[in-house]
């Protein structure tokens, strides 16, 4: 669906040039929700912008929907871009136009018939849950609502790919979760391939099936989310994993509090964790042999919500579905 072959991007400066991307190879399959994670300055923004040629790569090939973007004329490129939706961290809505007009714009550019526009915009606004906001202006909306408008606008021309540029980074955790759910629904319902760049680990954890970790303009690890984060190799990857799983706790203080069909719950004074089978981190007692830690959080929150046994059941279920659990 999306393929980047040995993509380089160099910004020529007066004194020295800066390499933003150095030899990116990436393959996103049809139907993927592909996450690219990295710290600021890793080159994520440049990467996502090469996929719709907002940034022209200095060398290498970008293939989207079987089209090599570099070989297209500017007219063909504009047509190709209509099949690639994009949403932004700052939403980039027109403040001077209503929600309806904002969503209608891609259709107006296409010269679509007025009645058809009205129908399609209504359909899109209903899909994103803003059917009652058609006549509002963006300044009257919350951040989450603005992003929903951005999403509706990006879907207007029925794209096959949706690019999300830090789409949830300006939102609070609860709103982030609802936007991520919406993205997942778009992926399932319309079978739209989604590429997300983010610096937030929980975005990857919550909806991505595949992930690439970026550092200094390079992809240092990529693959299935469970494989990459279940067994992180590079330091950066480990750092990201530790933002959702606190593995720096000294091993000595862990005690196993319960086991159940090969799944163990363990805890110390601060944390409670669920581990599945075979080995994971050094923090675990050696005899536990856990493959993946699926969940860790302070025990008081755990107790308030679920008993250890129900946590274990939940973990087992998630393991069967090969999906990380989200509580």
């Amino acid at each position: 669906m999306i393929e980047l072959q040995n993509v380089h991007k160099v910004y020529a400066g007066k004194e020295k040039s800066v390499a933003a991307l150095t030899g990116i190879n990436l393959k996103v399959e049809q139907g993927d929700i592909f996450g690219v994670i990295g710290f600021s300055g890793a080159g994520k923004s440049t990467l996502i912008r090469t996929i719709n040629f907002l940034e022209r790569p200095s060398s290498g090939h970008v293939i989207v929907d079987n089209k090599e973007l570099g070989s297209l004329t500017s007219k063909q490129l504009r047509e190709a871009r209509k099949r690639i939706g994009m949403i932004f961290q700052n939403f980039n809505l027109l403040d001077s136009k209503t929600v309806f007009k904002n969503v209608a714009i891609p259709l107006i550019l296409n010269g679509t018939d007025k009645n058809q526009i009205a129908q399609r915009v209504h359909e899109l606004l209903t899909f994103v849950g803003l059917e009652d906001k058609a006549d509002s202006y963006p300044s009257e909306l919350s951040g989450g609502q603005k992003q929903r408008v951005g999403i509706a606008r990006a879907l207007a021309t029925n794209p096959s790919v949706l690019l999300c540029d830090e789409a949830t980074s300006a939102l609070d955790p609860q709103t982030t979760a609802s936007i991520l759910q919406l993205l997942e629904r778009i992926n399932r319902q319309y079978n739209i391939t989604i590429l997300i760049i983010t610096h937030e680990m929980h975005v990857i954890k919550n909806i991505c099936n595949r992930v690439a970790v970026m550092e200094n303009g390079e992809i240092i690890e990529q693959g299935n989310v469970l494989d990459v984060f279940g067994n992180p190799q590079a330091m950066t990857t480990k750092n990201f994993v530790s933002t959702v799983i606190h593995d720096e706790v000294p091993p000595i203080i862990w005690t196993v509090s319960a086991t159940h069909r090969g799944i163990a719950a363990f805890s110390n004074s601060n944390l409670l964790g669920i581990a599945l089978k075979s080995h994971y981190y050094s923090i675990l007692p050696k005899n536990l042999m856990c493959k993946s830690i699926y969940y860790l959080l302070p025990p008081q929150r755990c107790k308030a919500r679920r008993s250890t046994t129900s946590l274990l059941n939940c973990a087992e279920q998630s393991h069967r579905l090969n999906k990380p659990i989200i509580l």
Binding site: L54, L94, S96, R153
Partner: protein
């Protein structure tokens, strides 16, 4: 009204001023707005980046803008003669007024358009919009309220310049103040013309502000 000037003269002067301001504003805007847009589009990082066009345009605008209006007025007399066939009168004053205001409007438009969030242009490009569509559907609507304020500033600048048009027999309120007030030591005429100018400028600024606010919404 007063023994030096008649109310008919005042009304005629106001008419002449309004005529000079409106025609030169209209033509100046027709020239200045596209030039201002062109400055933004062709600058470094613009969607139609072209450093040759940008630097030529930029320099011409700077050169014209360096000339005080009174000097511009006499410097381009041959050009004015070529265009309107005469270098005296209200019509003859309009030519230098346009030459004066068009580059000024271009600069103001450039500033207004640069205020438009670059992200909006990026979103437009990502949607596959053509450069003309980007200008028409994205940049102009987003810059509109700021553009109106810019044109308001330009209009007030023009009123100031028309006063000097009296030197070429352009007429108008400024001319009235100089020939009947200053040169005949008639303070009353000066006071009347100053009051008229203040009301005119206040009125235009208020109109501009109201329009801009209406468009900006919330």
């Amino acid at each position: 009204m007063n023994n030096a000037i008649t109310s008919d003269q005042v009304i005629q002067a106001i008419q002449e001023t309004l005529q000079m301001v409106s025609i030169s504003l209209l033509v100046g805007a027709l020239i200045g707005i596209p030039l201002g847009l062109l400055l933004v589009l062709t600058r470094k990082g613009g969607i139609l980046k072209n450093s040759a066009i940008f630097s030529v345009l930029n320099n011409i605008i700077n050169i014209v803008r360096s000339l005080p209006f009174i000097i511009l007025l006499v410097a381009i007399v041959p050009f004015t003669k070529f265009i309107v066939g005469s270098s005296i009168g209200t019509n003859a004053a309009i030519v230098p007024l346009i030459v004066y205001i068009a580059p000024y409007i271009a600069r103001l438009v450039e500033n207004s358009v640069l205020e438009v969030d670059q992200g909006i242009v990026e979103a437009a490009e990502a949607m596959g919009a053509t450069p003309l569509q980007i200008i028409w559907h994205f940049i102009l609507p987003e810059a509109l309220s700021s553009l109106i304020l810019s044109l308001t500033t330009a209009t007030i600048g023009l009123i100031g310049a028309t006063a000097m048009a009296g030197t070429v027999g352009g007429g108008g309120i400024g001319d009235l103040a100089i020939s009947y007030g200053y040169e005949r030591f008639n303070t009353v005429v000066i006071v009347i013309t100053v009051i008229i100018l203040i009301i005119l400028v206040q009125g235009i600024q208020t109109l501009g502000n109201v329009l801009a606010r209406k468009i900006r919404r919330q």
